[in-house]
Amino acid sequence: MNDDAAITDTPEPLLKMTGLRIEGQADEQWNEIVHGVDVVLHRGEVLGLIGESGAGKSTIGLAAMGYARPGCRLSGGDIVFDGVELRSASENYKRDLRGVRIAYVAQSAAAAFNPAHRLIDQFAEAPVHHGVKSRAEAEADAKDLYRQLQLPYPEQIGYRYPHQVSGGQLQRAMTAMAMSCRPDLIIFDEPTTALDVTTQIEVLAAVKDVVKQFNTAAIYITHDLAVVAQMADRIMVLRYGNLVEEGTADQIINHPKEDYTQRLLAVRTYRKPDADPPSEEPLLRIEDVSASYSGSARVLENIDLEIGRQRTVAVVGESGSGKSTLARVITGLLPPEDGRILFEGEALPPALPQRTREKLRRLQMIYQMPDTALNPRQRLRDIIGRPLTFYLGLTGRKREDRVRELLEMIELEPDDFIDRYPTELSGGQKQRVCIARALAAQPDLIICDEVTSALDQLVAEEILKLLQRLQDELHVSYMFITHDLATVRAISDEIVVMLQGRIVEQGTKNDVLTPPHHDYTDLLLSSVPEMEIGWLDRTLAEREGRRSRGEKVLESADQ
């Protein structure tokens, strides 16, 4: 009798991975990237896998399907799914499992949907191929699921091609596709990372709903602790292919034991001290600027903006709000149709070729992707040295000394780094080099276009601190383009909120962040996940309450 009781207390888990080891191939050599991780998942349970890039979370998630990406192999341990070990199972057995009992939701739905086929064809493929449903049944089911996931026009949307549907809708359509055979387990691989916050909250709600309704177990992979706090019952923190800490969501979020977990949780707390706005003439003044690409619809309308000396102005908005276009207009890459740009009170020529080298020097740019912004064939000496020669005419010894000085400024040891190529650097180090390259020109204003979006949170925070220190030392101004409100809180003096090519609200950080806000600012701010269990349910309930009281609730443009 005791034995029976023991069995009912601990039912056989749906998935049990023991001592999982995965190797990756680099330069003809196999290196271990996951070093013996144990994962247990019960039916209907949501497990969050969290960590920075290189932690092995996606690799572990895919291993749950008995799958290793090309260039990787499952080299050790057991993967037992519903009683069958997958590492030794036949390819046919695993194929019958995939899409039917275990499904996958990829990070970028735009890339993971085949551009050549309609959404509903891709939905029906797995159930029809595996003989779970007939084509007609699958189509009817697709429409049901589209409706449950609150996609607009659920009857028709499936007959569209992926490029005809917005990013947030695609991500929901992909969740529906994963549900098509009512799997026991779904692997969500950063499903909202590529989305704007206002869209993310809708997708999170839809995913949570549907998983709960069908009692599906899920592995939810993300680098964002605030997101995982909303989704997961249990959380595993991973780093470099090892388990750091495991516990219930409450334990990890509210009572983290390990130092690394605590640091991940503390990431969003850095905040620049408030400073008084300067009274002198602003460095850059944008007056009534409008712009469009080749005469089509306006991308920017009547933009007025000032950036003071040694100030950081954050420009926030969703994708498509025109914030990057604004940067292109200021740098002269896209001459405005109307309005003018004043630099120290003097009008800047609208187009890049008309600007003098001296004017170009004073305005520099740092880009989102340091990988593509650095020439892989040049050593750091040349990457940083080039603007020194181009703008300041430094050569030989003087140039070499200055390059070393700049490397020290960005906290990279000159002797060690000056002869390296970009490929020999980590992502954060590359972004530092981009900063040094911008600083080499001794600019007055640096436009930072999503400079931390491609970086892990801890690394991003170091970059923000570095930028802040450099501003204090060199009195440079920043225009900080970002969609990440945590970054805005951390670094800005002033905030400009953009929506569909217009500025909807601007002011000092405190003005904008403290209520009352413009409706859109409110939507934006309230959509940023907070490090608090139950935040998602509470926020959605709050919005629902306001809606039922007849108050206006702005919705994401990506509905």
Binding site: R95, R98, P115, H129, H163, Q164
Partner: protein, 318 residues
């Protein structure tokens, strides 16, 4: 849809413009040929008067631009001029041979395109296996040999030693369809061996290029078999480059057949061109040249349009 029609119209207009430029180049090229045409035809013994009379008859006494305009005007009305050698109308002369050349190109295309696509898809499916390597070695070697060499090897083996096919492809209108196919097999095989490597390797490369895409991984994770993943998910997205290469090779089948036709004594346009060059039959050279250019431009245009049509973003705008 109007967007696509405008695009096709634009391409057609561009194609016509190209053809016009080509006609200029052909005319000038022939004009620049050294030596006097009438002298060459009538021989050294001809008297001044006969030469002058002959020049007048050929309208060679007129300035070049007038002759060009007359030639172009004739073409626009469907009159390609007359052969110098036998005075027959060139349209009549080219008629049968044109069909023969297109027939040969058609037979070669029917053999080579499915073969190349099939081999390419299989090579992508069984990438880096023995099969993949063998197919690559075989097709690459066949493309590396000159056409006439491939042709003679085929004649030696299939015609002389095995006696399966005739070594001379003298087809005529009196023959039935299958008899013509039978007699055209060897030149068609030669052409196939020449073009298949290019198409097969492009098919393989275009598919493999896509195998790292997230949507291919998604298809794998839906539990679809490899063959279905490649045919259903990779191939439709790889069509644009494949179509381009296929059409370039089709164009080659039409315009590049000169040597093969000569080797097999096949009565096509290539033979006609060679004969005309030998006898200095300038109007025939010009006419065939222009026809080859037109075929080339038209096929490339088809490739452009087709590869744009395989892009769902254009076919189904937002």
């Amino acid at each position: 849809m109007t967007q696509i029609l405008t695009m096709v119209a634009q391409r057609l207009a561009l194609g016509l413009l190209t053809l016009f430029v080509v006609s200029l180049i052909i005319f000038l090229g022939v004009e620049l040929l050294p030596g006097d045409l009438t002298q060459a035809i009538l021989g050294q013994a001809a008297t001044e008067e006969t030469v002058a009379a002959f020049r007048k008859e050929l309208k060679l006494d007129l300035p070049p631009h007038e002759r060009y305009i007359a030639w172009l005007g004739g073409i626009l009305q469907g009159d390609l001029g007359h052969s110098l050698a036998n005075k027959r109308a060139i349209t009549e002369l080219m008629g049968v041979r044109l069909w023969n050349t297109l027939f040969l190109a058609f037979i070669s295309a029917v053999i080579s395109i499915p073969l190349a696509l099939g081999l390419g898809i299989l090579a992508a499916l069984y990438r880096n296996t023995l099969y993949d390597r063998m197919v690559n070695i075989f097709t690459l070697s066949s493309i590396s040999f000159p056409e006439f060499f491939v042709a003679y090897i085929l004649i030696l083996v299939l015609a002389v030693q095995l006696g399966w096919f005739p070594s001379i492809s003298n087809i005529g209108e009196e023959l039935g369809f299958w008899e013509r196919v039978y007699r055209s097999i060897l030149p068609a095989l030669t052409l196939t061996l020449v073009v298949v490597a290019h198409m097969m390797r492009m098919t393989r490369a275009a598919i493999i290029n896509l195998m790292a895409s997230p949507y291919i991984e998604m298809a794998n994770l839906k539990g679809l078999p490899r063959a279905r993943v490649i045919v259903k998910h990779a191939l439709p997205n790889a069509l644009a480059p494949i179509i381009n290469v296929v059409v370039i090779n089709l164009a080659y089948l039409v315009v590049g057949v000169v040597i093969v036709e000569v080797v097999f004594v096949y009565p096509g346009l290539g033979q006609l061109l060679i004969d005309a060059v030998r006898t200095r039959d300038i109007p025939v050279v010009q006419a065939t040249g222009l026809f080859f250019a037109a075929a080339y431009i038209l096929l490339n245009l088809t490739a452009d349009v087709l590869s744009i049509l395989t892009n769902p973003r254009l076919l189904h705008p937002r």
